[in-house]
Symmetry: D3
Subunit: 301 residues, 6 copies
């Protein structure tokens, strides 16, 4: 039976999303003291759920939160929520699929018990479609990505103010721009859910693992590049690299691979996508069994 | 009429706290993209609400969130929630009183509207009472307070992972310790809701404004010191300063002024509270019209 | 006798500006290995020439360039060039008046002899007039001001690429913005020839001397503030300070004092100029004997 | 026809060098807002002009200067100037051959048009000859190389004050020393036009690309080493590495490869050149078809 | 002839250890201006004396101390002292064997002559035995390892206050913990004579050479790993890496390889030693011809 | 009775200095794990012993070493050693008088007991006399003073390698120079037992307390300046400040106040001592009841 409203899992119950809520005393709300992970579907099929859950458990471990649940159980519940929501998707549509666990609710007088949430959210295909046609405009804000000695960017926690500030700063000058923050050494780090690659002399370069959330899409791209015999290096990238790159693109769960047209207003390469980006997009489409660019462009009409 | 359960204000409605919740799609939960401020009551009377709301609006401004409400309205609603909850307090008990505003709920297809919460929470007087008897044990963890170039500690936002990590690290070795983080220069910054003062040669020293959330209790302490003709300086404090201090204490909304007995295991001064700390605690009690130390110690019995 | 073309002094000769040139082997061109200073006229009268020359000789000393000329001689030649050029000024117009000395010309086979230039350049009153009407839009680029341990910003040398890069980055997003660079700690430093002040709770705050070229206009503003009993502090200013400031303005030789309307897109105060800025502009006008704002606004018509 | 004086190209004209000049209003002079590149001749034959022009265009791109000219045209004009100047060279002599482009001339009332210069300068073979006999004495000054987050050292711009300051500091104590600056992490960076290599356990080590102008001579040396099956690594080098190195040498357009005899007064290896340096010098000579060491030593007589 | 007391070599004489002393005017005492190196015996046989002396001479060179003695002579004297002391060892016992050279004695009115010491010290097998049974508890203190730009950790000098402070800080909270300091970037560096390895996805990772004293045991472990076809990488390791490692262990001259059970209180892997650690311990035992774990555990009884 | 040889106190005994020694197992030797303080005599009278002992006990506290002795006892023993040694002084001669305490001797099988030393050392008046005639030549080495987050410079411990390295680096280029290290921000810190002051526009400026060992001579100078109505500021000083200073001088226990003639080879002021330095030297002489400059100059003959 198809429902009219999406459902979500909250602490043992599957409820309509409009009723899916957490207490104002949940530390996931009070402090952002929660962990999450998000994969997506491709043509309604979930992508690399196992890899996302592995990463999720690393984040939980870093935060010293015991989820009280095995990865298998987590996967089962995720699929249950997804399956209930799939009928609501239209053609060319897909979901983000997320697991979220906060440390619990304060002030109950008892030890805190993790709050567990699983939910689906439609991908913003229409809003982002023109980026696939025109390329992304990357702008680096003046605020710096939080350094690893304060908080590791590798744990996916509910603390995004640093990147939100970067985004607000950049969008105040150019509402169409995507903020990519530099780290405290002035190297390119990452943006809201976004990893960056540049192409230089035929090789892919992306920031070192220590300074970014290692996206599954980033890893997937690296694997595809290796299969295509494209050299991949993880190393410090600064603005000189970006300004003299042959191509650049962003990877994320939703974007998969989206070309960059401008870096701080400076044109990157000759038109988007560049040839290496194009090869990787096609390989990505092959892997997921769906034309990832075509899906976005379909929403332009 | 006395109620059996505390109430809270959520988006225009006053509801029992057990029903006070926010959507799992609220960005205050998803990203900690929310701002708050917290004052307390002394013997049931609210303290410096105006100063707290001034600070609250600074935090909102830094985060570019328009609360859609004047400070006067905010104060009125705060008092309405507090008044409803006061009858539930027992003797020697008091409340934290908080305002919280998130940027809103994602995915509604409409511009985000701030989520507004006001709530009261009982002070943890019993849990913290022994700190007033024995003094606080401060330990500095190895992780550093997020630097201002990444996120200003002066805005009170729902992103506390940096300080929670410091706390987890310290408590893993000593569950009774209070974590105070160093900044990225190795100077003493702050802990979860806690400012630090040391006393050296009769003068008070506390970290510079740029590196800490400027607590109202910290400002109150500075004003009291000035009235008592105690010199106050805001400057960089490192471990050498801390290890050779004559006295040290912590200020926070709940603690007001609580003496420090040990700094990284090294005894501070001769017994707690030291003479300057004692004078300031008494002045604080005078200001708020209640014996702040006595209230805590009453819960030891 | 009025000339049709401005003249300049170059190495002992006063020549028409179109013929005023330096060798392609001059290290002032090859390496920017040259020092300068610039004052302006107010209603055709030169301003604080002595203070500018004092600063000029500090820059020369830092660069270990012996000008081979006393300050008195330098002043005399400056006035000679200025006097020759004054007749070319129209109403409401004024000059920048500069001294420049490079270390000399390479490859002559003899020890290098400094190249000395004195010249006048019309103030860009028309181009900048609207900033006095609408306020300046300050934007902080992602690149950082060169740190003092690499090169002191206090010496006025012909090496401006760092600030030009900041300007290019900012103008790529907003051609009307003025770039103000942060230092490597994330504090506000300076822009191309521009110092920043914020007004907070009635006091003026401007970055510490170590991190900026200490403008004569900056010093003049500080002296005027002190005469007006406005507190002035030189201390680290970060984005939180800027975003929560009551007013802000920029000082420079040409601007004198120009109000800031936006800081990274965030509105500063309520309309420009704010009340403190206004008082200081009026005091500045009084000091120089000319309505500094009026002069700019006259060019709007 | 042989001329008596070298010529240079300036903005479309080939003129005698004594008349080759730029306006005092050229921003290449005023701000060092210009870009250059320099190759040399070996026995009158130009070396790797294409590679130098590729690097030149990267510098132009970083500086957002459009040269308004193709690389082919640039190469053609370079050769025209070189050919005109070659007859002036004596035996054992060679030229530096440079292209320089500034952003243009200010204050013309029109958009700026790049100033283009091409020129030849005799190599300082006599002055530097004894370094090939005795080895270079490297000294690290206290000032640090400008960090990449302020200005990339990889763009060859007319802003050399940072390195000139290092040189002045070092030469104030030892006029024969060559200044090599450390970066802001304390690692060896570079000197005026000079890259550093150390030899340790048979391998070559040179600083990472991000922190130095990647010299063509440096790249040539790396390629030669690879042909000779000498391991090459680009990594951070600190004073401990330098003090315990088996050999060290400097590469630059003029030096090609010149051995280092002392590092901060500490003797490097046993006599110059060390065996690896010697092999590389010989390979360099083979590549350029001329005895590079012999040319220098010929000037000692 | 067996002695009842250990002997030591001091400046040309072999004396009973109770009489082995240095002047209070020795700069090795006054400033820690001395260099040392320490190997150990395995079942009474000295280990890699040559490698230790090579490292010792690097330290001497960095400190510009001329030992006035060849490595061969140093080795001969070391063996002479060791041979005299071996008869004093009981079963399951072994020695640390050290060479120490200070710059000399001040105030003699003559040029300083190095003070040379060679001595044997029994390994603390009993004190450390339980670490082999239960694993080491690593805790990172808040103070940072001295950065290479101040003093290279690669020279083994008599200046250990930085690491002693780290140890005092950590032991004040947990007397059983081993302090491992972070570097000034927040990456794991080293502890008192201790290098750290983590195991992740089957590969060994240890901090980069620049930030640690490159232990001979560390190098031995790397060589053993390569023989066992275990991948080894030297790269920055931060707390996220440590908290999500599969295994971790410490190497030192005395420990050889000792497993880590907890990192900042967080359990590492499933019981000690982990499988990779176990393989390496066994290989180490094979190399040194003695069961290294067994020797320690024998002292538990 | 006059002795022929100086005596020293070592662990409860007063012995001839030639027999005053510590064990090779003393951690003061092995690790520099010891603390000291040094005052001097003026015309045979000890100077500010109390202030030195206060500082000594702060150093002990920082190092968590319990001296097992009161300050009064420490003072009494110091005077006993001094009194025994005074008869050995010639005319115009004076002593450094030091207390030293190490944490003890390792490997005794018992808890460590502090090693206590008190000793007198003749001031190097002859060696340093010419600095009073000609001024000191300060040179800043490339290595940086250890940052406070690694080890506080305010504790006087037996770990001087950082400053010895600076000294070796500087003296390798100029044996007459005095090394003054910059801190990791590039500001002037301190040299071996030496604090720096500059004079600028009539005011004294010296580095902030956090970055230097706060010399008693430095404090004495500050007090004298205040009595002479000379403004004193403790703030960051960089090379620009030093290069443009009107005067500069160094303070230390032995130098008291010694003028600086050159800073990195750049002449400071017009001849030594400058007028402010001269006033302070005279005031110092007045305070200690002896012509401090005259004493040094007497040794030139």
């Amino acid at each position: 039976m198809a429902t009219k409203e999406r459902v979500a899992y909250v602490n043992g119950k599957v409820v309509p999303e409009s009723q899916a809520s957490i207490s104002i005393n949940d530390v996931g709300f009070l402090y952002g003291d929660a962990v999450f992970d998000t994969t997506r579907t491709f043509d309604k099929r979930i992508f690399k759920l196992k890899e996302h859950l592995d990463r999720f458990y690393h984040s939980l471990r870093y935060m010293r939160i015991d989820p009280g649940m095995s990865k298998e159980e987590m996967a089962r519940l995720t699929m249950q929520v997804l399956d209930a929501n799939l009928p609501l998707l239209g053609p060319h549509e897909d979901y983000w699929v997320s697991q979220r666990i906060s440390r619990g609710v304060r002030g109950t007088g008892k030890p805190m018990v993790p709050t567990v949430v699983m939910e689906c959210h439609p991908l913003p295909l229409k809003e982002r479609a023109k980026s696939f046609r025109d390329g992304l405009q990357i702008v680096t804000p003046s605020i710096r990505r939080t350094p690893p000695e304060s908080m590791s960017p590798r744990a996916k926690v509910h603390n995004y103010i640093n990147m939100i500030q970067g985004d607000l700063e950049v969008k105040s000058q150019n509402p169409d721009a995507l903020a990519i923050l530099l780290d405290t050494n002035g190297n390119i780090a990452e943006g809201l859910g976004s990893n960056v690659f540049i192409v230089k002399d035929g090789a892919l370069i992306t920031p070192r693992d220590q300074f970014v959330l290692g996206g599954i899409s980033r890893e997937t791209t690296i694997e595809l590049a290796q299969e295509l015999n494209i050299e991949v290096r993880k190393e410090d990238i600064d603005l000189f690299d970006a300004y003299t790159a042959d191509e650049a693109f962003v990877t994320s769960t939703s974007y998969c691979i989206c070309p960059v047209s401008k870096f701080n207003g400076m044109k990157v390469g000759d038109g988007v996508p560049g040839p290496v980006t194009d090869r990787l997009q096609k390989a990505y489409s092959g892997l997921v069994g769906m034309d990832i660019v075509g899906q976005y462009l379909a929403h332009l009409k």
